[in-house]
Symmetry: D2
Subunit: 341 residues, 4 copies
């Protein structure tokens, strides 16, 4: 940590800062310049982070030097990218996971039909929501436990690992009975209660970036999970909020290579929610795969016009095989191959 003193900081003010640094067990390196004095606080990361020097007399600026996250950092990976095995499928490194399924579990027929289609087209995992976070309290909130049972049936029949969202800690046990990967939605990225509990469960997590979260905040949210001993966190970019009104969210594909530099954790992209429109899903998926994403999570429906929720952005089940083949070619450009059971 680097402390920049104000131009006219007094010797007492400088000494006070040095004392504070020493008091947490760190060392202070002082550089007196013509205009300002700089003080480096050097020592153990956790000690230094305990310093709260902003606003202290004579202090102009506090510049963090080390990243505030540790377990999710690239250094923790020792230069290797994490590869997770989930129900026999791999994600990370050279392994690209196609995760597909309906936005919301609606009916037995819908679930089984979609699962069959995406499995045949090479999808690695099956996604489907039983609990749905909805902006409006008047909107459909998901089938709940009945939805979980349908996912369990699809898993039994088609053998694909299940990705499904958890919103309420009180539903954790029920969700864990069927989920191979628990999804934490964008709105809950900083729901620390949820993060800690899912961390304790040990179940693999797909953690979606909040819609105006920085990458550092996303990694800090991952840190809440990792800190409880759960190492299997996948980071998911799903679009951020900007001033642009031509699309629902702005898919931030720069996050893909940058997260892969900052962290050893796999990076997944959700093109469906950002776009909100089916016709953008293919080009965005190709771009995500070419940018080096470790997987895609995409919405598919046998009959999108009849979908209860988010139909306009769902790929048609009967067109999914062509879509998946194109994504596979784009992933190959980035040196990755689809994972299969």
């Amino acid at each position: 940590m680097m402390i920049v003193m104000k131009p006219g900081a007094s010797a007492e003010e400088i000494d006070h800062v040095i004392d504070r640094i020493v008091s947490v067990g760190a060392r202070a390196h002082v550089s007196k310049g013509d205009e300002v004095t700089l003080i480096g606080a050097i020592g153990d990361r956790e000690h230094v982070q305990r310093l709260e020097l902003e606003g202290v007399a004579g202090v102009a600026q506090v510049v963090p030097i080390l990243k505030p996250y540790k377990l999710s950092s690239a250094q923790m990976g020792g230069g290797e990218r994490s590869v997770f095995e989930i129900g026999g499928r791999r994600i990370g490194g050279e392994h690209f996971a196609m995760i597909a399924g309906p936005c919301t579990v609606e009916s037995r027929e819908q679930v089984l039909e979609t699962a069959e289609a995406v499995k045949n087209a090479g999808a690695a995992m099956f996604r489907g929501g039983a609990y749905k976070p909805r902006t409006s309290p008047y909107a459909f909130q998901g089938l709940g436990q009945a939805g979980l049972r349908l996912l369990a049936e699809a898993k039994e029949i088609h053998g694909m690992p299940i990705v499904t969202e958890l919103m309420d800690v009180r539903d954790l046990d029920a969700v864990l009975e069927v989920a191979d990967v628990v999804q934490i939605g964008a709105r809950n990225m900083q729901n620390y209660t949820l993060l800690s509990e899912i961390g304790r469960s040990g179940c693999p997590v797909l953690l979606k970036r909040g819609l105006s979260a920085t990458l550092e905040e996303l990694l800090m949210a991952a840190e809440y999970i990792l800190k409880e001993g759960n190492e299997k966190v996948m980071l998911c970019e799903r679009g951020i909020r900007t001033f642009e009104t031509a699309y629902r969210f702005t898919l931030d594909l720069m996050a893909v290579p940058v997260l892969r530099q900052l962290s050893h954790l796999p990076v997944v992209v959700d093109p469906s929610h950002a776009a909100g429109r089916r016709d953008l899903v293919l080009p965005l998926s190709l771009a995500a795969a070419a940018a080096g994403a470790d997987g895609i999570i995409v919405e598919v429906h046998p009959n999108p016009e009849e979908a209860i929720c988010d139909g306009p952005q769902a790929l048609r089940a009967d067109e999914f095989a062509d879509y998946a083949a194109a994504v596979e070619r784009a992933a190959a450009v980035a040196g990755k191959a689809f994972t299969h059971a």
Copy 2:
């Protein structure tokens, strides 16, 4: 709801849209133009909202006409602004509530000293956090139940209503024992579990706007609480995320007059978190009061340099009386007077 058909939409496509509108119990008004056909879906709000026509063949655009919130809307207030009485203090209409206290409950001495200072200076309510949402899992997370007990003691001694944050539904009963107003933090604005439970409790709520939430989303979050029968929701602007790096968040004071147009609910401003710096708190508070806010929630500490959390943004307890007097003058410009017990 207005449906704009694509320029070349076929008669079948137009008829299909009309059928969908009729099927939910609404009526369709068709206007055929030279370039496009417009179809108005007219009827009961809840019926019409159930239509999901985006992405349907031939549809270019779906334009919502009615607001998606109801109970929080200005119309529901019948042209009157809601006034809530909380522990003998009023907020809303002509009543301006100064809510002050430390960011975090740290010690008995800190709590009681601050409570006395802000009470003497005319504050209406006392704020203090026992449960703290922190970006880093390594940071101090609040005193929890011990903190709640200190707040209870301050309430007993100084008689001010208590505002404190709830993060985990499992802490609801403990928080309700001491809180006169439950605060829902920005990160939890769309934690629907929390919103519904606090709605059922009936306890007044201070609902903070998420840091990239639109005003409509804030009102939809309020709707989750109101829908459970809890009418006492105060909306709180606390800064949004923008590209600007000179301050932590950008306090959106336009939200004050606009929320007051859209909704009958009181609007409170939190200048401390947006600024992150003590010296901005006064000008922002004056601006908020002059803009017509119904209250301010501000951080005060007897010794900010020693604060565990967010010290740099806390007003000094011994300077609070001058601050409050200035805010009272600014509120008067907007036709409001401080509320007192």
Copy 3:
């Protein structure tokens, strides 16, 4: 255009709006609903756009139905994508143009060495700045006319079309002597004087999106050029401003497929400025090409460490061939091939 009247709008207010619509030569279609009355203004686009009904008594909302741009719209292309031929190279449709060269023209050696390297690696055009818009008045502002002469020499020797920026209308003639494509920078996207003059010149234009411009505003800026009779406008995405601080700008790759839907004009991506870092340029370029971009404009330098300006984001000239080959594979995924002379 659709006018939504306020719930309690009077008959007089409704009649007044109808009169205004009729007065500009359009027709009014009225739909009276249970809660609100909707009035469609239907007629010639330019007539209808002249209506300014916001704020008129009784009007709640004015919803534009037609896009405000015409010549740049996809409809104007008649369903075909524009293909431009510039110095024997093609851009648009199936033709992908790699545009490469230094950020800034610094010296004869630097220009010629870079031109040779990028030409040999398959670049279609050569870029280089003689006039540089710099945030700081104290920074290097470009070589000016001397820089133009070096570009002219590179063109003579290597035969590649030249892309260079124009900032001041008074430099137009000098720039046109050497430029095959005139670049309008992001800061000048709404410099209407410049747009109109370059429109009159007839010279092909690379129009960069302003750093917080919507796609509609970008197309309106293109419209200023097209309106003067200049049909050769290429749209360029170069990163937008968001709250994220991990990178300089957020490259908005959703703009690629969406601009290709809205407009017939070719879409080019500049990965260098958004990234600000060399190591992000390759993944972003692959993503841009896979998303369907019609070209890339990228910075290359023989010795980036010695570059006067933006060295950290420049690709090394001796690594450019590998880079270009990878981009060519990504473009193939989107059905495009590199254009050559």
Copy 4:
């Protein structure tokens, strides 16, 4: 400037950075920590800024310590706020300037009627646009020279200083004949040609913040003007672009106190453009004045329903006196008084 080396930076890499620092005439202070080495580059501001060390081998991060602007900085003001006298009116320090008039000059009657109304209500200066930057090339672009002549007439009759916009350097002489203050619009904030020329003219400038410009960029734009010897620059906040769709722009009132800390230059607020709606202008103006703005520039029209441009946001001339009186009360809360001739 502080250079943070990468954890594994070699001795050669560190020495290379030190050599670069020394080569521009600065001194290097090295602090070797357990994890990283920090190097402070200390010396003359302009020398140090010439260093471009990002991307150099071994360098992790370059942290600027000094602000890149000089003439516009608070330090240059020597702790005093600048007060400008323009046509006998003062702005800055304790002097608050109300600048009012129509968005666009439309007719002799409109101009003179508005000028009389705002003068009688205590406005210090008269604003009106003869050249209008319009997003659409099909929209009304202003009366041009005829508009300037009407402004000259209003000045002669009512004696108020004139504020009017310049868009094209080629119109500079014509504008200077009538303008007491030249306005640079938000779209031209980084039109460096225009900034330098207006700097050379010596005429006072109202410089509007670009709609996604940071405060630092605004001050750098001011620096372009100040550098040419023109000291009279007023900074103008007029709303920034955010994700919020409930209003046209988000008026950033935090910019008022922060600009007043960073710079000695007066700060003016334009509430009309941000709001886009008349009913928000009063609360935003009160907030701006209470926050400490040195002036307001606001749109007024004798008959807003008939305005050619931006009528919905114009205050009615016959209501302006009440508006101005309210703003005067809010300015008093911040310790300021209206300036008069």
